[in-house]
């Protein structure tokens, strides 16, 4: 059993704030990611509430003019995508991945710290736009030229430039993080942890990191070209010599894979949560991995489905590839459903949020498949249908998955349980509020309400808009029990112990919170559920690459139900300290 034993080689803990500002411990950096991202979630949420408040009734009430409205939805989307969803999932991965593969830390701890600290800097640059003349970026999170070219009617002020610089910084942070994850996963696995014994969360982070490393630099190139156009008289995207649609191609070459960057880790989280709370192994472990890799690969061939109406892309190809994405996604749906099927379900908060992910992501997937059909897309392009679809995927999917992860790993991070009752209040408010906000947007989309308008005149849109606004404030209200829950649980929460959920993966084999460098000793790793195996006193079920069945009977002779069972001595602890 892991303890708090520290070796002389591990530097003594420096206390308090200084430790948090200078830490290179992946667990602390992971928590920093989470805290920073939640802060961004609240900032982005405030902009969302302003937007919804404006849209509750026709005409302009909240904002001085449409331009400020444009700034609000642009910054809402930018903050939520680049400073909340992507980093919060990277944060969960940062915390969980080294623990799950039995590693002492990430491969490059200092680069890991650098990746994190670029985020607050990027956030400050982005939000500094509000202090400049002309305000913050107001051309939407996609920032298409010619809207973003410099000009009195487009984006005249420095707000758009700050947006570009901020995104380049955040992108660099992502790339460095992705490289770090890949090297960690390929090189730092504990003995016995073969690729096909890795937890699904690690697999999804692997595929996500490949997408980040391959796709994010491409948007960086689009951003620097936009910057050159705006500031040095370039003509990349300015007619007649340049082409605005070129930006869209390069932008979506990143931003479609980025959708999977935003959802795959959340899929990984619920693939950890569902087996644990169903008391069953994940149904179809390898199928799930191949489906994940398939989504990642297909993700690079569908970008132009965002551009059907430009008339500049080959429609049949991109429609076909987009429909193909539904296949691996459907495989995963069956993985999850059959994991729960006939399982011994425990409806704890993490499971409820995971089921929320399943149902909401299903809706988001299906209404996405609608838009993959070219004729339907021509009707629905740039309407509220799209807003609804993307929120069902990114909020109904990623955010619910992220909360499942937070409720699941909070005991590991802090050593204390979150309150179940408050967690359920949080879920119910968020689930109802979410559907009240985003389901009516389907109707608005079909009725033809365009995105990104501050005012509307069709009276049949009024009721649905009001409903969506009420739902938006419900989502905001659902954050109150969550914050209160974290606050009281940190002070007085029930002590968690090492393994409160009877988990499967290695993070539950160490103490809560884990000591620096994570493990004194590890259980034998003979399947993708080493802690389950250890708890039940047998080693490996011969399932996934387990070639050591002959050792199983030996382990069965001495079952240790209340202990970790067979463990491997990790050798003298000081060997785990930093060497260089």
């Amino acid at each position: 059993m892991a303890t708090h034993a520290l070796s002389p080689a591990v530097p003594a803990y420096r206390g308090g704030l200084y430790e948090w500002l200078t830490t290179t411990d992946h667990k602390k950096i992971g928590i920093l990611y989470l805290v920073n991202s939640m802060l961004m979630f609240f900032i982005g949420g405030i902009f969302a509430l302003l937007v919804r408040a404006e849209l509750a009734y026709p005409r302009i009430q909240i904002f001085q003019n449409e331009h400020v409205y444009n700034e609000s939805f642009s910054i809402h989307a930018t903050v939520m995508i680049f400073l909340f969803i992507i980093p919060v999932l990277a944060g969960l991965g940062n915390y969980a991945v080294p623990l799950m593969i039995g590693a002492p830390d990430m491969a490059f701890p200092r680069i890991n710290a650098l990746s994190f600290w670029m985020l607050p800097l990027g956030a400050m640059l982005l939000l500094a736009g509000f202090l400049t003349e002309g305000g913050a970026a107001a051309a939407g999170w996609t920032s298409y030229p010619p809207l973003t070219e410099r000009g009195p009617l487009n984006s005249d002020g420095p707000g758009q430039d700050l947006w570009i610089v901020s995104l380049v910084l955040i992108g660099t942070s992502s790339i460095l993080g992705g490289i770090n994850f890949l090297v960690t996963i390929f090189k730092m696995r504990a003995p016995g942890m073969t690729l096909f014994r890795m937890p699904i969360m690690v697999w999804t982070m692997l595929v996500t990191s490949v997408l980040v490393v391959m796709a994010t630099p491409v948007i960086t190139s689009a951003l620097v070209m936009l910057f050159i156009d705006r500031n040095y008289g370039g003509t990349f995207f300015t007619p007649p010599a340049g082409q605005a649609v070129l930006y869209q191609n390069i932008f979506w070459f990143y931003s479609h894979p980025a959708v999977y960057v935003m959802v795959l880790p959340a899929m990984g989280v619920i693939s950890e949560v569902l087996p644990v709370f169903s008391r069953k192994p994940l149904f179809g472990y390898k199928a799930f991995i191949f489906a994940t890799a398939g989504i990642g690969a297909l993700g690079f061939s569908v970008w132009a489905h965002h551009m059907f109406t430009t008339g500049a892309v080959f429609l049949p190809f991109f429609a076909l590839m987009t429909f193909l994405i539904a296949v691996p996604t459907g495989v995963k749906m069956f993985n999850w459903i059959f994991t729960m099927f006939r399982g011994q379900l425990t409806f704890s908060t993490p499971l409820i949020f995971a089921v929320g992910f399943l149902t909401m992501f299903l809706i988001g997937g299906i209404n996405g498949a609608f838009s993959a059909a070219v004729p339907v897309d021509f009707a629905l392009h740039d309407t509220y249908w799209v807003v609804s679809h993307l929120h069902y995927v990114l909020f109904g999917g990623s955010v619910f998955g992220m909360f499942a992860g937070i409720y699941y790993w909070f005991p590991k991070m802090t050593g204390r349980m979150l309150n179940e009752g408050l967690g359920k209040v949080h879920f119910v408010l968020m689930f109802v509020g979410f559907n009240l906000t985003f389901f009516p947007m389907h109707m608005l989309g079909i009725k033809g309400m365009p995105r990104r308008i501050a005012d509307y005149a069709d009276p049949t849109w009024n009721d649905w808009n009001l409903a969506a606004t009420i739902g938006g404030f419900m989502i905001a209200a659902s954050m109150l029990p969550f914050i209160w829950n974290v606050f009281i649980s940190l002070r007085n929460g029930k002590l968690a112990g090492d393994d409160p959920w009877e988990g499967n993966t290695l993070e539950w084999a160490t103490s809560s919170p884990p000591p620096p460098y994570n493990f004194d000793r590890l259980p034998e790793i003979r399947s993708e559920r080493p802690v389950f195996d250890a708890r039940h006193g047998f080693v490996g079920h011969g399932g996934h690459g387990g070639r050591d069945e002959e050792e199983a009977p030996k382990a069965l002779e001495e079952p240790k139900h209340d202990d970790m069972g067979p463990t491997r001595d990790m050798g003298p602890v000081e060997e785990m300290g930093p060497k260089s």
Partner: protein, 207 residues
């Protein structure tokens, strides 16, 4: 800090499937992945170049600047210098693999100086082009030319800094036949910068 992977398995040979020690080292894998991301960055710029050129194919380069980019002039010398520097960089790697520190320092120093000369020649080339009136703002040709070569130059500058670091460390005796991951990583980066330049030279001057 990256030496932890070997440490975790040290002391028990009974590991069922050993890891760490085997295969590529962490810093080199990290550099390969970083280069992958750089390749994708330049892919975006190259894609923009070809798209822009295809849309302006009738006047490429525009009449005023026709013949301004002479592949046999200064830029040919710069190209040869960069290619030679890739060779000397590799000689440095082979030296340190043999444990030949003097050879390593000598070859790295030559590579470093060649890199600096390349940057100097690019600066002279830019000055000449500016003199002819070709700038970032002079239409699609100037925009793509200076963006592509500018970002390449920035990467050469980064590579020269890295070479400076390993040169300094090599002179301080920090590398040996066993421990020289930084050298291997920097050499990979330098070769990458070289390959990008060969592509750039081919499409900008020859194609």
């Amino acid at each position: 800090m990256t030496a932890e992977a070997p440490a975790i398995t040290a002391g028990h040979g009974a590991a069922p499937s050993g890891h760490a020690q085997r295969g590529i080292s962490n810093p080199i894998l990290g550099m390969i992945l970083f280069i992958t991301s750089e390749v994708m960055f330049f892919s975006g710029l190259f894609a923009a170049y070809f798209a822009t050129r295809a849309a302006n194919v009738d006047e490429w380069p525009p009449g005023v600047f026709a013949g301004i980019l002479d592949p046999l002039g200064l830029i040919m010398i710069a190209t040869i210098i960069l290619i030679v520097s890739s060779f000397t960089c590799q000689f440095a790697v082979w030296s340190i693999r043999r444990g030949d520190r003097r050879g390593f320092v000598r070859n790295t120093a030559i590579t470093f100086i060649l890199g600096v000369i390349f940057l100097g020649m690019q600066a002279i080339d830019y000055a000449i082009l500016f003199g002819e009136g070709l700038t970032l703002a002079s239409g699609p040709f100037g925009t793509t030319y200076f963006t592509l070569t500018g970002f390449h130059g920035a990467h050469v500058f980064g590579g020269v800094l890295m070479l400076g670091v390993i040169l300094y460390r090599g002179m301080a005796g920090q590398f040996s036949a066993k421990h020289h991951d930084a050298v291997e990583a920097v050499s990979l980066y330098w070769h990458f910068v070289d390959v990008v330049w060969i592509l750039l030279f081919s499409i900008l001057y020859l194609l």
